[in-house]
């Protein structure tokens, strides 16, 4: 009779050794005391892990093959395809930073059981990157207008709002290892992957895209173990009372930053890049983040003295309006996008007002103006109606038009002789915690101060194969397409709002 799996797992923990040479200096030394024991509830062996993951991959690729055979992409709502052009690279960024983060944890936490859990996680994250790549290839070959998909992750570093994803996920790998585990495994994996990869698949399906649902739900099935890794690490660290204030501060900062990135991304994608909306994001957030995450976290970690994230009230306030502000911000900046944005119509207006009372008063006139200016014959941009472009927050990288477009809460600070924009109290607190890590990041407007808008677009490279038509368009029509000549004819010069 073979040994029980848990017994074999216990034996594998003995396969550790101590180096006879001095260990390399930690890249990011930790401020926490980390106990040597910890618990991975799954006690997974590599042979079982590999069998499970092969089956998962087979199912996803069978779903993609089926979608090709049935020409399913022809049924996808075109708005959703445009949203995918933003969602896919943003997810890839999350997976890439998570893979790095798992590596950081393997090398930093001297605890064999947790190390085994993080080893499987590192492999998972690589698998997710491959799946997102496979999806991108699938859509590139099958959707009617694939322009923009080809840029992949490069688009994020070039696009003004693409930096939001980079800023949100970098703390998962470039950080004190325990802070990284809290940001990655506790806040992102346990709270925020649920809206992104469980709640959004029904949105994709309602808009004709079952391939996305198959891939992202499969990705999330790995996150289940990552959530357990986070709980195991947090429980081990929380057992030492002197760690508690550090954990609480880390949780507060990570929750705020993840809200700024993930809530905005999911809210915009699920409400502004679809026609069929199975839920309003505020309701999905209450279920997945408040009921499931906060409720469960409180039960589990309340006894250790940990409390709910400090700015939960401000986060909830942002849920009412923030993604609406950023959506119209993306529309106003549309020539800089690598995707198209369809103007909203009467049916959309009714849905938003039903689900976000008061929306019509602020946002409907802006969307009507956007629609009215969508034809290049009008030779005018919504952007030209603004007194100045909004600065981008130095922490979360969102345009400083949040949490409400009509009542932004940003402030300009000076640090080390330079001016920085911060969109909120939460981002100001994060900046103050570690200004060096944020201050070194250049701003989009600073990079292009004094440039003609047409030259900025050419520099970004968001141009179609004919060399003159923009990838971005303020509508989904096949005609009335804007070209670089139309943009140059407007004579718009970029002015950095923080320039001296």
């Amino acid at each position: 009779m073979s040994a029980p799996t848990t017994r074999i797992h216990d034996l594998t923990k003995d396969y550790v050794w101590n180096s006879t040479t001095a260990p390399p200096a930690a890249v990011f030394p930790t401020r926490y005391r980390v106990p040597e024991r910890g618990r991975d509830p799954f006690k997974l062996l590599m042979r079982d892990y590999a069998r499970m993951e092969v089956e998962k991959d087979n199912r996803v690729h069978q779903a993609l093959d089926r979608a090709v055979q049935l020409r399913s992409s022809e049924q996808i709502e075109p708005r959703w395809v445009e949203g995918l052009k933003l969602l896919l690279p943003a997810t890839a960024e999350a997976e890439y930073q998570a893979m790095k983060g798992a590596g950081l944890l393997i090398s930093s936490i001297d605890n064999p059981e947790l190390q085994q859990g993080y080893s499987a996680q590192a492999l998972d994250e690589a698998r997710h990157l491959q799946l997102v790549g496979a999806l991108r290839q699938h859509y590139s070959r099958t959707v009617a207008d694939s322009q923009g998909l080809q840029f992949g992750s490069r688009a994020l570093s070039r696009h003004p709002v693409g930096s939001v994803a980079r800023a949100a996920f970098a703390p998962n790998s470039v950080n004190d290892p325990i802070d990284a585990a809290i940001a990655l495994n506790v806040v992102l994996e346990t709270a925020y992957t649920n809206p992104l990869t469980v709640a959004i698949p029904p949105v994709a399906s309602a808009n004709g895209d079952d391939a996305y649902a198959a891939a992202y739900l499969s990705i999330q099935s790995d996150e289940v173990r990552h959530m357990a890794n986070g709980h195991g690490t947090l429980r081990a660290v929380a057992e030492i009372p002197e760690n508690i204030p550090l954990v609480q501060g880390s949780l507060d900062r990570a929750f705020w930053h993840q809200h700024q990135g993930s809530d905005t991304l999911v809210g915009v994608a699920s409400e502004y890049f679809v026609r069929n909306r199975p839920w309003a994001y505020r309701d999905a957030w209450e279920e997945w983040v408040v009921d499931d995450f906060i409720g469960s976290f409180s039960r589990r970690f309340g006894p250790f003295g940990l409390t709910e994230p400090a700015r939960l009230g401000d986060v909830a306030r942002g849920l009412e309006s923030q993604h609406h502000a950023v959506a119209i911000g993306l529309a106003a900046l549309w020539p800089l996008n690598f995707f198209r944005i369809d103007p909203l119509d009467e049916q959309d207006f009714a849905w938003f007002e039903d689900n976000y009372p008061g929306w019509s008063q602020v946002y409907q006139p802006l969307w009507e103006a956007y629609a009215a200016l969508s034809d290049p014959a009008g030779a005018h941009l919504l952007l030209q109606e603004l007194p100045a472009v909004p600065p981008f927050c130095q922490v979360c990288q969102l345009p400083c038009i949040v949490p409400r477009f009509e009542a932004p809460e940003f402030r300009i600070i000076e640090w080390s002789g330079k001016k920085f924009a911060l969109c909120s109290d939460g981002c100001e607190a994060n900046f103050a915690w570690n200004p060096i890590s944020y201050a070194s990041y250049g701003t989009f407007w600073g990079r292009y101060h004094g440039w003609d808008l047409a030259d900025v677009i050419l520099d970004l490279g968001f141009i179609r194969p004919d060399g003159k038509t923009l990838v971005a368009q303020p509508h989904l029509h096949e005609d009335r397409l804007w070209t670089i000549d139309h943009i140059r004819g407007l004579g718009v010069t970029i002015q950095d709002p923080l320039a001296p």
Binding site: A214, V290, I294, S298, T307, A316
Partner: protein
């Protein structure tokens, strides 16, 4: 209309989300038969189940239902999320054991709950 920050209902202590497919169909049938108080919501591409204290998936019964040995890893293929504590209990032979989800105790005066 203010976005809610207090978890509710407080008795929803444990939950699991399952990708649509034959395993999930069998799990839902088992839950309806053996744990009728579990709340189950079908959302098309996935199903979500939650309960006040505990959800138990019996792998032996699932193996019988599906006609092949179902181990913890076979269930994890379709588990896309959970909350509460997850406790895999592997059996001595293939196709036995259980996957248990158990709620932590409610903290009196705790946060948010």
């Amino acid at each position: 209309m203010t976005v809610r920050t207090v978890p509710e209902p407080a008795q929803r202590g444990v939950g699991i989300s399952l990708i649509a497919g034959e395993e999930t169909t069998a799990i839902v049938a088992q839950l309806r038969r053996t744990q009728p108080t579990v709340n189950i919501v079908d959302r098309g591409v996935y199903t979500k189940a939650d309960a006040p204290d505990e959800i138990v998936l019996d792998l032996g019964e699932l193996s019988q239902e599906l006609g092949r040995p179902i181990d913890v890893e076979d269930v994890l293929i379709v588990v896309t999320s959970y909350f509460g504590e997850i406790i895999p209990q592997r059996g001595a032979t293939p196709g036995t054991g259980s996957l248990v989800l158990r709620a932590d105790a409610i903290v009196s005066g705790g946060t948010g709950a």
